[in-house]
Symmetry: none
DNA sequence: TATTAAGCGAGACGGTACGTCTTGTCTTGGA
DNA sequence: TCCAAGACAAGACGTACCGTCTCGCTTAATA
């Protein structure tokens, strides 16, 4: 009963200082020189950390940057509430585009690129980024149905694909900006019938 | 007059055999081992070609694969004609998805990834791939307006972003397949009001 | 003055089990994989011992193997007695060569090599191995002088250098074997005039 | 007959500058910091040369230093001629010891050590160093037989082992110097009967 | 009998070097 | 002038050990 609970982990505990230095440095280099200029060697050098320490905890530079990004962007996009779907979607898109235009967008682009030739990272990225970011949007659309702003039989998964797809397309192909006009145009096209 | 006609450029002319061998080998390696396993070194080795010969004519491995892809896929997607926009768009999407599911999709994914960390290639890719592929779709949508299947004030550029965006999103994030159901769902969502 | 006199060693005494496991494992790895495949890391792993435990008690892997070797070869070469110098030297050399041909030779070679780039170990090796092994031979030669088998003014230190030198030379250069023929030939050359 | 002889090697020829820089740097580092402080990485760094260039031409750092040593010590020990064996051997040993005491000795020691845990290098070292250096001595001893300074049935191979062995023993064990006294003592012990 | 200091295993840490790989350039001789 | 061949400087890759450190747990002598 009063028997002490045995600590599971033995040995020297993981250094949080090293961990944080690695994450910070990785993000800093990525922002400064771009993701393709990021090397494990470079992180180790600038973070003042041994290479094996990096390899011990991360499988690839993609995962480091991803974790750093998640950590920094702890604050989730606030889900617009108590708005019409029209208003809510517009708010959602504008907040999304604003965030992406602050430099975060370049990192996100790089991570999507990385996922294309690293299947392990692709799985992580899909599960921890793509899927998670879809949830608020799906919730928004679902509420739209509940509220009667959308037909009950609307395929909201595909609708989310159209919305997020448009964002990714412009983010990656860079043929046009992610601006307020784009947000308005998307809303207008997807939620056309604005019944009085 | 038995003097040989000197071509404008002197010296040995460019070897078409070498050129073709490079393109073929690059495509073959990409299909076999994936784009990230493709190296200039490897192309030179397998094509029996000197590395400088490759560097003389292409700036990056992205451009080689891109050129090889363009060459192979000479035959453009045939623009559906004399159909309703609904029918036409569905046909267009199904043909597109079918093509992407044959292995071409993986190469296209890799090229989009490559464009994310090679600005020079990104420009080429945007101009010679993204933009060009948009034209038939824009034409289709434009015809839709003409035919009265779409309101005259429809922003067809953004509509094209929604359509192609959905494709790229699923192609890159791999969270759901590019299949006939998806094509149908897109059409249903974007061209909802089917009068008469 | 009431200050207590602290015993020199307080706390938990050194674990003999760990000590012996380290020595045994080191010798075993050296015999199995060779001295250059021996690592502190490897000893710790196979002996089920922490690395600091090794570093606490030994300065280098050379010293571990040396101690293990000394421990195993506790039984010294028996000094031949009551023989002529000729007979005694021959017996001595044959016993020496036989020992070296059992696998001990490889370890001894490695230790001599180690001494070449570790001055601390070199001092230990010279004092505890080289010098100690010379004593029986010097005794033998000294007895030879006493018995009249050697001239009284013979420089037995240099004579010992010639004898042990020949052994080391063949052991290290491996250009010829350490066999009975070699022992006979050495004796014949160094103690030529066998007067009646 | 007048058919041109085709050059066997195509491509860019080996850079003699790089080759020499590597050899020079390797020798310099070895002399400055010792052989065990010599690393391929360090040679590349100081010589301003790529690592693969080193690995392309040498299998190990032992071989680099060995080649550098051979190149520097092009001038062979001059074989003493027209001397009695006594005089000749003394001259030979004194020249040998003098050379070894100039810093060459430390390098030679390291190479012998290296040969103990690198079988490939050991073969090279035995063939290109040990064996080659034995030849002049064997010649000297052979001439001694011819001249009548040695019995005709003298086993000169073993005699050479005794002589070179004594040198190696003192060089490696460092228990006594390689000086003129040692040379004299060796000669006195091995060539005792100096008739008239 | 309780305290306590040292030893113990485990294992993370900052480093360094390894040997390999690819990059983009340069330098040949042959076509 | 272009080509193949291939050497070059550069530098990142991921791994293996190094020697040090920090843990929590024994363990036996001391008080």
């Amino acid at each position: 009963m009063n028997k002490t609970f045995h600590s599971i982990s033995r040995g020297r505990p993981r250094s949080t200082a090293a961990r944080q230095a690695i994450l910070d440095t990785a993000l800093q280099i990525t922002k400064r020189d771009g993701f393709s200029a990021l090397t494990i060697e470079g992180i180790a050098r600038e973070a003042g950390v041994g290479k094996p320490t990096i390899y011990r905890w991360w499988q690839s530079k993609g995962m480091i940057v991803f974790e750093a990004l998640q950590q920094q962007a702890e604050k989730e996009l606030p889900l617009p509430e108590n708005m019409s779907l029209r208003k809510g979607l517009l708010t959602f898109l504008q907040a999304l585009f604003t965030t992406l235009n602050t430099g975060i967008g370049d990192i996100v682009r790089s991570l999507m690129a990385e996922a294309q030739h690293d299947p392990v990272f692709a799985d992580l990225f899909r599960a921890q980024f793509i899927s998670i970011r879809r949830q608020p949007l799906l919730q928004l659309l679902h509420d739209g149905i509940t509220r009667g702003d959308l037909p009950a039989d609307t395929n909201i998964e595909v609708l989310a694909d159209l919305i997020y797809g448009a964002m990714w397309y412009r983010l990656l192909a860079q043929h046009a900006p992610l601006d307020a006009d784009f947000a308005h145009a998307i809303v207008k096209l997807l939620l056309p019938a604005s019944p009085s």
